[in-house]
């Protein structure tokens, strides 16, 4: 039997520490330490011996490491000393290296913070791996809505039906978004984002409740759950539970308080209102399979594969909604894919494209690599200075591994210095970056010690990448040759350096091409004739019943102002007509033609207000009483599609009604330029005309706006006069592209900047090294321009090569990007030539500074020494 020996033992933590630090085989060293401890315990008391033992242990560690680091630390001290001396002696080179690396590291750190945030979306839900979102695909060929057949919008009864039908669906919920709606509590009015949600919502997702009952917070009608933030806005420090908030003329009782919704949630909202209330608000209640405004989530039981359920969905849809879902297929999307892998129409989630993440990471990494290359190039270029040192070290007995370690160490040391600079820079740049990405990223090292590890690893990695080639190169020095002052490895080094410079310039040229193309496309969009006039149009979305009811008298009042040209109300502005129906018509050959047609309901002034050109027939007019009932104006594409030679008077059916074509308008871009123009119709069917547009004169705009505002406010609406200019709204559609462009501009600037830093260093080094040669050439009669040519000739060859590499790559990526647009600029060869030329000129300029200095120097000075 083994007796457990009851001896005083040091703390478990110190034992663990000993085992970790001293590579301990068979716990021999641990035994030694325990023995020391036991002796201490025999002499002193328990507490004192513990303290003394810790003192002993701590004293042991540096002694151990001191010896562990090369030869009792002496060599290490020497390495540091030499590294410092080199840093000081070559201030210029060091500055170039550190600046380049620092900029590279800044890019990397920003990229890291951004990517980490983007990847963290929805990671806080306890059941995260079991939650799926339902989406559907319209399966009729060639009729993709807005170019995209995928939707997340579903019918309201879908969620309960899924739960009822399948035992593996443990829970299901549906939500509907409320964007910027008015909430009222006594005197306070706030516009907030919210969701219609049922009680299951709180159970499936883990948005923690601070107050309230999870089981029934949203189970009753007229209940509302608000976030802490909203509760503070409304009620300050008072207890909000049970208070009344009015929304859409209904009094809701606050039944729960949520923690604030984290920024990395794909759903953002500040309040939840009972889904049951929708029963009375929707025309067909909550059992209508034709409704299409809810998002459905399900929670699967543990261990179920969602793909199995997905396979059963066709049968399910056939059973519950054979007509409504006849043209659709259902799918499930895992919760954690929602943020980065969504591609849906009417998506209510906060989404980003995974390709943006890839591209951003790639570009940031490339810039870091360009900075590392600078280090490699400068270190090898100056190697002949260090070669003697290496030779000497070898003579005294250094082995190759030690020299490699020395140079790697030096690179790591420099990378460490660069990191310090980079961290200071990030402090300044992060707010700018945040306003650009609209995130709230923080670099809080104290709060987040994990990041220290990342930065530490980064420094080691950067040091090793940039130090690897110089270390191998320099450690290969033959001491005998070097010390005999024979020329040293210049050929091989030069070639490698040129290859690296070529790489730097290729990437720079690629980035320049991308920048030019993106900006070219943006300019194209801006200048493109989109078929209607978007300048000097003020728009307002009508949200108040009181305005809606009095719209005719408002229009009359506005029309009397001298600076108002035209007023129109409609259900869609011409920049975004998104309503679509299936229509049928009879073509010239008397055949039935089916066509999916986008359509908008407009008034008599619509065409004039937006300057849309009428090609044939006439505009809607109050003189024709039937216009409001059955007249239709088509666009050119629709006429072409239907094959009508004389469209006026032809008939068309949609929305279960008959229409007669009275006019044809010139094609205008009623959707973003990403999409081709498709058949479109304008009619005067009754619909909510909540878009008010006013064309004003370019003079005295502020006064005109003030007049509009005054007229609007006369009716005491609850919503403020929240107007927009049509051209601003138009530009906002291309916000993503604008961001894309500015990102490329910054990155290509950085890439070129770092590459030029390196080139400048190389050039000044070459010039310095050839001082004597240049002196002799000048004495023998060479001209300044001749010497300038001599020094810059090598460069042009490599920049040319860089162009040849860069062009196909840039062409490939930009061609792919432009495919996103149905209307786009061509990729002309001039863009490439211009980018290449720009890169070449910048490179030449960088080099010329040093070359001219060297060429203009007086040979007497350069030849005097020695």
């Amino acid at each position: 039997m083994i007796h457990k020996i009851k001896e005083p033992q040091p703390s478990r933590f110190s034992k663990w520490l000993i085992k970790r630090i001293f590579k301990d085989e068979g716990e021999v060293k641990l035994g030694d330490f325990i023995e020391i401890y036991s002796t201490l315990v025999e002499e002193k008391g328990w507490l004192q011996s513990r303290l003394r033992f810790w003192g002993y242990l701590i004293r042991s560690m540096p002694e151990y490491f001191k010896d562990f680091l090369c030869m009792g630390g002496t060599m290490f001290k020497n390495y540091i000393k030499i590294a410092f001396r080199n840093l000081k002696r070559n201030k210029g080179y060091s500055a170039i290296n550190i600046t380049g690396l620092a900029v590279g590291i800044v890019c990397f750190v920003l990229m890291f913070l951004y990517v980490r945030f983007e990847l963290s979306f929805d990671n806080f839900h306890k059941n995260g791996d079991q939650i799926y979102r339902f989406y559907k695909k319209r399966q009729v060929e060639g009729t993709a809505y807005l170019g995209n057949p995928y939707f997340t919008s579903t019918a309201a009864p879908l969620a309960p039906a899924l739960k009822e039908e399948y035992p593996e669906v443990v829970n299901s919920t549906r939500i509907s978004r409320l964007n910027n709606v008015l909430l009222v509590h006594q005197e306070k009015r706030l516009y907030e984002q919210g969701l219609w949600a049922d009680n299951q919502f709180l159970k499936i997702f883990s948005f923690p409740l601070r107050q309230g009952n999870l089981e029934k917070a949203l189970a009753e009608p007229d209940s509302m759950v608000v976030t802490q933030r909203l509760a503070e806005k409304f009620f300050g420090l008072e207890d909000p539970m049970g208070e009344i908030i009015t929304f859409r003329n209904t009094d809701f009782r606050v039944t729960g308080i949520l923690e604030n919704i984290p920024a990395h949630s794909h759903l953002r909202f500040d309040f939840l209102v009972s889904f049951i209330n929708l029963k009375d608000l929707r025309r067909h209640g909550l059992e209508d399979w034709y409704s299409n405004s809810d998002t459905t989530y399900i929670q699967l039981g543990q261990g179920y594969d969602y793909r199995e359920l997905e396979n059963k969905l066709p049968v399910f849809l056939d059973k519950y909604a054979p007509k409504r879902y006849a043209n659709y297929a259902g799918f499930l999307q895992p919760l954690k894919k929602i943020h980065l892998h969504s591609f849906f129409n009417f998506d209510i989630a906060v989404t980003n494209d995974i390709n943006n993440i890839y591209m951003f990471s790639a570009v940031a990494l490339i810039i870091l690599i360009i900075a590392c290359i600078n280090y490699m190039n400068l270190a090898t270029a100056r190697s002949f200075q260090r070669a003697k040192e290496v030779g000497m070290r070898k003579v005294v007995g250094a082995v190759r591994r030690q020299i490699i370690r020395q140079f790697l160490g030096e690179a790591v040391f420099l990378a460490g210095l660069a990191l310090l600079g980079a961290l200071a820079l990030v402090k300044f740049i992060l707010p700018l970056f945040n306003s650009f990405t609209q995130h709230d990223l923080q670099l809080n090292i104290l709060k987040n010690p994990g990041i220290i590890l990342v930065l530490f690893a980064l420094v080691i990695l950067v040091g090793h990448i940039s130090g690897s080639y110089p270390a191998v190169f320099l450690s290969a020095v033959n001491p005998i040759k070097v010390l005999k002052k024979e020329a040293f490895g210049s050929r091989k080094g030069t070639f490698m350096r040129n290859v690296l410079v070529t790489f730097q310039f290729s990437t720079s040229i690629i980035l320049i091409v991308c920048t030019i193309v993106v900006y070219g496309q943006l300019k194209f969009i801006k200048n493109k004739d989109i078929g209607f006039s978007r300048e000097h149009v003020v728009t307002l979305r009508i949200k108040d019943d009181v305005i809606y009811e009095n719209i005719e008298s408002i229009k009359n009042t506005l029309a009397q102002h001298p600076n108002v040209h035209n007023i129109s109300t409609s259900n869609y502005l011409p920049i975004d007509i998104a309503n679509r129906s299936d229509a049928t018509a009879i073509n010239e050959e008397k055949q039935d033609v089916k066509v999916s047609i986008y359509h908008a309901s407009i008034d008599f002034n619509y065409l004039d207000t937006f300057d849309i050109k009428l090609l044939q027939g006439r505009n809607f007019s109050p003189e024709f009483s039937m216009d409001k009932e059955q007249s239709l104006i088509l666009n050119e594409t629709a006429v072409r599609h239907l094959g009508w030679k004389n469209p006026i008077g032809k008939r068309m059916q949609f929305n279960r009604k008959d229409f007669v074509v009275i006019g044809v308008v010139k094609d205008f871009h009623y959707q973003p330029l990403h999409l081709p123009i498709e058949p479109m119709a304008l009619h005067m069917e009754e619909d909510w005309h909540f878009e008010l547009a006013v064309r004003i004169k370019p003079e005295n705009i502020p006064q005109t706006i003030a007049f509009l505002k005054k007229t609007y406010e006369q009716y005491n609406p609850r919503h403020p006069f929240d107007f927009a200019f049509l051209d601003d709204s138009f530009n906002r559609i291309y916000q993503e592209e604008q961001k894309f462009g500015s990102m490329f501009r910054v990155f290509s600037f950085l890439a070129i900047f770092i590459a030029c830093l390196g080139l400048y260093g190389l050039a000044s080094f070459t010039a310095e090294r050839r001082t004597k040669e240049i002196g002799i050439r000048k004495v023998l009669g060479a001209s300044i321009s001749g010497i300038f040519m001599l020094l810059s000739r090598g460069l042009s060859k490599w920049v040319l090569l860089a162009n040849i590499i860069a062009w196909p790559v840039a062409y490939y990526f930009m061609n792919k990007w432009l495919q996103n647009f149905a209307y786009r600029v061509g990729l002309s060869i001039w863009i490439f030539i211009l980018s290449g030329l720009a890169a070449f000129c910048i490179a030449l300029l960088t080099v010329s500074f040093q070359s001219i200095k060297a060429a203009a120097a007086n040979p007497v000075d350069s030849l005097r020494y020695e």
Binding site: I5, Q9, V28, D32, E63, F68
Partner: protein, 111 residues
């Protein structure tokens, strides 16, 4: 045969002095006694391992005791090479210091 560093020399001597009982704790104690400077365990492991690698020392696992919490000792012994290098060091030392006494050193002091 190469020259020994001061630390290596002291450690080899301590191992020799301790005979059959040379392991981490005793070596550190012996060094503290003979050099007049406090030696901790951490300071002896690296030179011990280095000397073993150079084949000046050999080691075996010894018995465990209650005091060590049941862990065994690593007992060190001089090898033939170790002994030779010590002898060589001693004789070199003697030739370097031959005929020099403290008083003779003091006489050479330049005032």
């Amino acid at each position: 045969m190469g020259m020994l560093s001061r630390t290596d020399e002291m450690i080899l001597l301590a191992v020799w002095r301790l005979g059959d009982n040379a392991y981490g704790v005793t070596i550190a104690e012996m060094l503290t006694q003979t050099s007049g400077k406090k030696w901790v365990l951490g300071a002896v492991y690296v030179p011990l391992e280095r000397l073993e690698k150079k084949k000046y020392l050999s080691s075996i696992l010894g018995k465990s005791t209650r005091k060590r919490g049941g862990r065994s000792k690593r007992l060190y012994k001089l090898t033939k090479d170790g002994l030779d290098v010590l002898i060589e060091t001693k004789s070199r030392e003697q030739s370097i210091w031959a005929n020099i006494t403290i008083s003779s050193l003091e006489k050479g002091y330049d005032t």
